[in-house]
């Protein structure tokens, strides 16, 4: 039975920097000796862990799932996994888009958690309006990929939300 390539990717809730790649392929191909993960941001730049000299992440067959310390902030990315043979030739490949939004999701929860204990903060000038804008950007980023499969639009939303979180003193 030939290989039907498939994989899933997810951020780790307890540490959003960590991304877990799981090979969920079915079937097999004896010529496959390894895997390569190409993560590309919305600008087409490769996203790899610090210290990596290649534009891809090596994923040996014996390791599944694979945990990679990949992110410093939320990103909308394209992930391509190549299943390769001994000479590096691509035997199978699969592309999927992802919106990594956990940093911002957790920041929103942090805001709401604070708000639940200090309800009057909602009356602060611009506070609630900015929370609404932040929320709209996070949901927009997710929707852009889930429905539109558009990582450029998703990244634009994520970048706005990330900017607000990084400058929280000005917004919240």
């Amino acid at each position: 039975m030939s290989l039907s390539p498939n994989f899933s990717v997810a951020q780790t809730p307890l540490n959003p920097s960590l991304v877990i790649f799981t090979d969920t392929s079915t079937g097999s191909d004896p010529s496959i000796t390894g895997r390569r993960i190409y993560v590309t941001d919305s600008q087409g730049n490769p996203v790899v862990p610090t210290g990596t000299s290649t534009t891809y992440i090596t994923w040996v067959l014996a390791t599944n799932p694979l945990s990679v310390d990949l992110l410093t902030q939320d990103l909308a990315v394209n992930v391509r996994v190549d299943w390769v043979n001994i000479s590096g030739g691509v035997v199978a490949t699969l592309n999927q888009n992802y919106c990594f939004s956990l940093f911002n999701k957790q920041f929103l929860y942090y805001l709401i958690q604070l708000q639940s204990t200090t309800y009057n903060i909602i009356q602060d000038t611009n506070y609630w309006g900015n929370v609404g804008i932040f929320w709209a950007n996070v949901t927009g980023a997710i929707t852009a990929v889930e429905i539109g499969n558009d990582i450029a639009a998703s990244q634009a939303c994520l970048s706005r939300a990330t900017f607000m979180a990084q400058n929280q003193a000005n917004y919240f």
Partner: protein, 175 residues
Amino acid sequence: MAQLSILEVIRIGRMSVPISAIDISEGNLFGERLSVTSPQTIALVTDALNWQYEGNPSDDTLRGVANYLTFLCGAYGLEAQYAISGTTGGAIVPIMGAPNPIEFVVDGTSYIPNGSSTKIVSSFIGFNMIFARGGITQSTIDTGGSYFTWTKSTGAFFCYPPASTGELFQLYPTI
């Protein structure tokens, strides 16, 4: 009463959004109501709670935020809980249109043929019946002359005397 789970609170939050939006949009004499807890507020807090719950369902701060969401939902939350539980205000039985009347002149092959006195009128089941024979409305009381009986639950029809060739039979359903 058992405490609602975080997941139940999230579902109530989701359901409260349209309920509150509809209620606020209905307004009063002077337009839309102004509400402290708008549907947007409920939706936002619900999303925040849901995202954190998805990532870490054992987070011990979830209960406090869930209580906050319950507070925001208020009466809408009670209505949402009622809707989610599937409890309804009772079934509405649609009123069906009455079936068509049945009219014929008795002969050997008519709806009730010559010499017959019984018939299952299935299309009239559930309705009352007015029976006219030769243009004369018949009674269900046997006074020694012609009469008929009708059981609306089964559709069983009986007429006396039996149908005779050339007679006009008219069967009308009524509610």
